[in-house]
C-alpha cells in the first residue's frame, strides 16, 4: 500500500515535513556560519554543531519511523560526520561543509519528493552519491592532537572513519580550548535537554556565571550567537501547544555570526510561546475582519447621521480598527527566513567565481506580510547573483584598485511608512554608465545622441535580454534575470531602484508594500464607477484645465507635465464606462488628470473626480475574471459596492504600447 493512503502515516509525515523544513533551513545557515568561523580562524560554534547534530538525528529518527530508507541513510552519515565534529575529533573543512550542505539539500528534496509520492526510493542514486561523499570524508584523519582520545560515546560515530585516527596528523590552527577535556565531555549529555539549553542561553546574555562553561565554549563565540535565547524550557509551553517530538531541540538555532556581529540585539530572555496555525485560517480570519470593517463603515454612516455622538458607535469603530491591526500583525513574519538562504547562495557563488565576499545582513527582524516574504526570494537571488558576477571584482582587481581583498555584500531590510525597503549593496566596481548607454544604443533601445539621467540609464538594465557582459558565464550575463526581478517585484506593486557609483559599488533597493492584504487607495470616480488606485503608484494629480493634451494621430494622446509629455489615457474609454448623467453646463469641469508612476514610466489618466482616500482589504479578482487587463484586484467600498483596483503598472504599459503603434516618441 502506498504510504499516502495511510492517514496515520500522512499525519506523522506532515508534522515531520513542516518541522524538518524549518530546521534544515536553519541548518544551512549554521553550516555557513561554521565555515566562516573556520576561515577567519575563530573557534567553531559548538552550539551550532550541537543543533546541527540534533537536526540530522531527529530527521533520521522520524524518517526511520516513516520507513524512508534513503533519507535515513543520508541523515545517518551526516550525523556521523557531525558527531566527530562535535567531539572535537574533526575540524570541518570546506569540503565537509559542502558535503553537509548537499546532505541538507538532499533531505529538503527528499521531503518534497515524498510529499508527492509517499516514498523516497526514486532518490536512491542521489542518496548513494551523498552517502559516499560523507563516508569518504568521515574517513579522513582526525586532528592529530586528540587522536589518542578514546572514541566518543556516540554509537553512530563508528563509521569507517573511526579507525583512521592515527593516519597522517595534520595541523590545525584552532585554539586548544575547543577540544573538550575528558572530564567535561562527560558532563555534557549526548542530547542536551531543553532546560540545559535554556540555561545556556541565559548565561550567554551575561547574567550568571555559566554552567555552560562545562561545554568549553570559547568566550570569543559569545557575541556571535544572539538568537539562541529563544530556546525555551518545556514548562513554559501552553497546554494547547502541540507536543514537541523527541528528541528535544531548540525552537530557533543560533543565527550565523555575520548578522550577529553587526547588530548585536540582546533580546529579552523570556521564553516566547508560539502556536502554529494553518495560514488558511488566518486568511479566513482576515477576510472576516475585512467584512467587519465594511459593516462598521456602513453602520457608522447609517447610524452616525442619526446619532452623531453615539458612544457605542465610537467604541465599535475603535475596536474594529484594533482588531484589524492585530489580525494584520498575525500575518507578519520576519524576512529572516529569506535572508538566511542567501548566505548559502553567496558562499557557493563566490567560491565558483573565485571571488571573496562577506555577506552582512541587517534588519532581518523586519516583518512583512507572509505572502510577500515568499515572493521576495527569487528577486533577491537574481540581484545577489548579479552583484557577485558583475559587481564584485576578483581579489586581485580589488587589491589593484586599492580596496580590501574581500568584498562586502550588504542585505538590509527596513520599514518606511507603509513600505518595506530591501537593499542589496555591494562595494564592487559599480555600473559602467557609458557601457550601458552604448549597449542600449547598439540594441536600438534609445536613439543616438539622446542623453538620459542616471536613474533612467540604470532602468535599462531591466530590459529583457539586456546585458553588457561580452562573455556569458554560467551564472549570469545572459540578460535574463534583472527583467525577471522587475516583473516579480511589480507583481506585488513594488519597484526596484538602482543607484551606483563607479568604483564604489551598486545599491539596488526593492520598495514593496508592507502587505498584499490591504491597500491604501485613492478613490477615483469615472462616470458612475468608482475605481481604486494604490496610493503608492500615485505621483500627483492636476486639474485637466491646467494641463494640455496633445493628440497623436492614430496612436493615442499625450499630456504635458512640467515640460515633459507622457501617455494620456481616458479611463472612461479604456474601461468602457457608461457616460455620466448629463452635467449642468454651468458647473465647472472637475476632471482631473492623475499621474501614475508605473512600471514603464509615468502615465496620466483622466478621471471625473477624486473622491478621497481609503484603506481597504484587497480581494483578488475572481479566478474567472483573472484575465481582465489593468485590474490588480478589487475591494469593497464603504457602501458595499465592489471597486476595481487599477494597476498603474499595466496602465503605463498600455500607454506606452498604444503610443508605440504610431511610431512616435516623446
Amino acid at each position: 500500500m502506498n504510504n499516502l493512503e495511510d492517514p496515520e502515516w500522512v499525519e506523522v509525515f506532515q508534522e515531520f515535513a513542516v518541522e524538518s523544513r524549518e530546521q534544515l533551513e536553519q541548518a544551512e545557515a549554521m553550516l555557513i556560519g561554521i565555515e566562516r568561523d573556520r576561515m577567519q580562524g575563530r573557534p567553531i560554534n559548538t552550539e551550532s554543531v550541537g543543533a546541527l547534530f540534533r537536526t540530522f538525528h531527529t530527521v533520521k529518527g522520524t524518517a526511520g519511523f516513516l520507513t524512508l530508507d534513503r533519507t535515513v541513510h543520508v541523515a545517518h552519515d551526516a550525523e556521523n560526520l557531525l558527531a566527530r565534529v562535535r567531539s572535537g575529533e574533526l575540524l570541518p573543512e570546506s569540503d565537509h561543509i559542502t558535503a553537509l550542505c548537499h546532505a541538507v539539500d538532499f533531505l529538503v528534496a527528499s521531503i518534497a519528493h515524498v510529499s508527492r509520492t509517499g516514498d523516497d526510493s526514486a532518490m536512491a542514486d542521489e542518496a548513494t552519491l551523498i552517502v559516499d561523499t560523507l563516508v569518504a570524508l568521515n574517513a579522513t584523519p582526525a586532528a592529530g592532537n586528540i587522536a589518542s582520545l578514546p572514541p566518543v560515546a556516540e554509537p553512530e560515530a563508528q563509521g569507517p572513519g573511526a579507525t583512521a585516527h592515527d593516519a597522517a596528523p595534520r595541523t590545525y590552527d584552532a585554539p586548544p580550548s575547543l577540544y573538550a577535556p575528558e572530564g567535561s565531555a562527560g558532563a555534557m549529555p549526548a542530547e542536551p535537554s531543553i532546560p540545559a539549553l535554556a540555561a545556556m542561553s541565559l548565561s550567554f546574555d551575561g547574567a550568571q556565571p555559566a554552567p555552560a562553561q562545562t561545554l568549553t565554549l570559547p568566550t570569543a563565540s559569545q557575541p556571535h550567537s544572539p538568537a539562541h535565547t529563544e530556546a525555551r524550557p518545556p514548562a513554559a509551553q501552553p497546554a494547547e501547544a502541540p507536543p514537541e517530538p523527541s528528541p528535544p531541540k531548540p525552537r530557533r538555532a543560533p543565527a550565523p555570526s555575520a548578522s550577529g556581529k553587526k547588530t548585536p540585539q540582546p533580546r529579552d530572555t523570556a521564553p516566547r510561546e508560539v502556536i502554529r496555525v494553518d495560514a488558511a485560517r488566518v486568511d479566513a480570519l482576515l477576510n472576516m475582519i475585512g467584512e467587519l470593517v465594511i459593516a462598521e463603515n456602513m453602520t457608522s454612516r447609517e447610524v452616525g447621521e442619526a446619532l452623531p455622538n453615539s458612544r457605542g458607535l465610537l467604541q465599535l469603530q475603535r475596536v474594529t480598527r484594533q482588531l484589524q491591526d492585530i489580525t494584520m500583525s498575525i500575518r507578519m513574519v520576519p524576512v529572516q527566513g529569506v535572508f538566511r538562504k542567501m548566505h548559502r547562495l553567496v558562499r557557493d557563488l563566490t567560491k565558483k567565481q573565485g571571488k571573496l565576499a562577506e555577506l552582512i545582513v541587517i534588519g532581518e527582524d523586519t516583518e512583512v506580510d507572509k505572502s510577500l516574504v515568499d515572493s521576495l526570494g527569487d528577486p533577491l537571488v537574481h540581484i545577489l547573483r548579479n552583484a557577485i558576477d558583475h559587481g564584485l571584482e576578483t581579489p586581485e582587481d580589488r587589491v589593484a584598485a586599492g580596496k580590501q581583498e574581500q568584498g562586502t555584500l550588504t542585505l538590509e531590510a527596513s520599514h518606511h511608512g507603509g513600505e518595506v525597503h530591501i537593499q542589496v549593496r555591494d562595494n564592487g566596481r559599480g555600473i559602467d554608465r557609458d557601457r550601458v548607454l552604448a549597449r542600449a544604443r547598439e540594441r536600438g533601445l534609445i536613439e543616438d545622441g539622446r542623453e538620459l539621467p542616471d536613474a533612467d540609464v540604470f532602468q535599462l538594465l531591466f530590459e529583457p535580454g539586456f546585458s553588457t557582459v561580452e562573455k556569458v558565464t554560467d551564472v549570469s550575463g545572459r540578460g535574463v534575470g534583472m527583467d525577471v526581478v522587475k516583473r516579480n517585484v511589480e507583481r506585488f506593486n513594488g519597484r526596484v531602484i538602482v543607484s551606483s557609483t563607479p568604483g564604489l559599488g551598486t545599491t539596488m533597493t526593492l520598495r514593496v508594500p508592507l502587505t498584499l492584504a490591504i491597500v491604501d487607495g485613492m478613490l477615483l470616480r469615472v462616470g458612475e464607477q468608482t475605481y481604486t488606485v494604490p496610493m503608492i503608484q500615485v505621483k500627483e494629480s492636476i486639474p485637466l484645465q491646467e494641463t494640455s493634451i496633445t493628440d497623436l494621430p492614430g496612436s493615442g494622446e499625450l499630456v504635458e507635465i512640467r515640460g515633459t509629455f507622457v501617455p494620456f489615457l481616458r479611463l472612461s474609454t479604456l474601461f468602457d464606462v457608461k457616460s455620466p448623467p448629463p452635467r449642468d453646463p454651468e458647473e465647472p469641469d472637475q476632471s482631473i488628470v492623475v499621474f501614475l508612476d508605473g512600471a514603464d514610466g509615468l502615465v496620466g489618466i483622466l478621471v471625473d473626480e477624486v473622491l478621497g482616500q481609503q484603506q481597504t482589504v484587497i480581494k483578488p479578482m475572481p479566478p474567472l475574471l483573472a484575465h481582465v487587463s489593468a485590474a490588480s484586484g478589487c475591494c469593497i467600498l464603504g457602501d458595499g459596492r465592489v471597486s476595481l483596483i487599477i494597476d498603474g503598472n499595466a496602465l503605463s504599459t498600455i500607454g506606452r504600447s498604444s503610443r508605440g503603434k504610431g511610431g512616435m516618441a516623446a
Partner: protein, 189 residues
C-alpha cells in the same frame, strides 16, 4: 406507480413529471437528482441544485471592462466578490433589464463562485437520474443536459459549468452561434 412502470416511463425522452410529484413515498425507489427550476425570458429551465450555494436578491453590480456582455460585472455577496453572469443572455435569449423578481443563483463550481441572474426562481424538482444518463435523445446544445416535459411546457436542464464559464474580451465568445436560433424568448405569462 410501481418501479417497473417508472422504468418504462423513463425510457421516453420527455417525462410527465406531475405524476411523479404525487408519489412521495416511492421517491427512494427511483434515484433522483434535485433541481432548481427557474424562468428566463418566459421559458422554463432547471439546474442541478448540488451546485447552488444560495439564492439572493439582486445586488449592486460593478461593471468590468474586457468582458463579454453576458458578464454583467462584479458584486459583493456578504464579503465575497463574485462575477455576475446573465443566464438568459448567456444562452442567447437576449438582454433584459432586471426587476424586483430577478434573483441571483450563487453557483459553486470547481471552487469558483459565480452568481447567475435568472428572471425568477419557481421551485425545486426531483428529476430521475436516467434523464441524464444518455438513454434519451442527446440534446443538441452543449449547455443543455436534459429535457423533460412539464404540463404543456418543455423544460431544459442547463449545464451549470456552461453558465459559469466566462469568455474573454468584449464581444468575443458570443453565445449567438451556440443556440440563439433554436431558442427564442417568449412573452412572460
Amino acid at each position: 406507480m410501481s418501479q417497473s412502470a417508472a422504468t418504462v416511463d423513463l425510457l421516453s425522452p420527455s417525462l410527465e413529471l406531475e405524476r411523479r410529484g404525487e408519489a412521495d413515498d416511492e421517491e427512494r425507489a427511483v434515484p433522483t437528482i434535485r433541481h432548481l427550476a427557474f424562468r428566463l425570458r418566459g421559458r422554463p429551465f432547471a439546474i442541478e441544485i448540488r451546485h447552488v450555494l444560495e439564492i439572493d436578491g439582486l445586488q449592486p453590480v460593478t461593471p468590468v471592462h474586457d468582458l463579454p456582455s453576458y458578464v454583467r460585472g462584479l458584486m459583493n455577496l456578504r464579503g465575497h466578490v463574485v462575477p455576475l453572469v446573465d443566464a438568459g443572455e448567456r444562452i442567447g435569449l437576449g438582454r433584459r433589464e432586471y426587476d424586483e423578481r430577478t434573483c441571483i443563483v450563487l453557483l459553486q463550481l470547481d471552487g469558483n463562485e459565480v452568481g447567475v441572474a435568472v428572471d425568477r426562481v419557481t421551485r425545486v424538482v426531483d428529476l430521475p437520474e436516467t434523464l441524464f444518463s444518455g438513454n434519451g435523445e442527446r440534446p443538441r446544445q452543449d449547455f443543455v443536459r436534459g429535457v423533460y416535459r412539464e404540463g404543456d411546457e418543455t423544460v431544459l436542464c442547463l449545464d451549470p459549468s456552461y453558465l459559469a464559464r466566462v469568455g474573454r474580451g468584449r464581444g468575443q465568445d458570443l453565445p449567438a452561434q451556440e443556440g440563439a436560433n433554436q431558442l427564442a424568448p417568449r412573452e412572460e405569462r
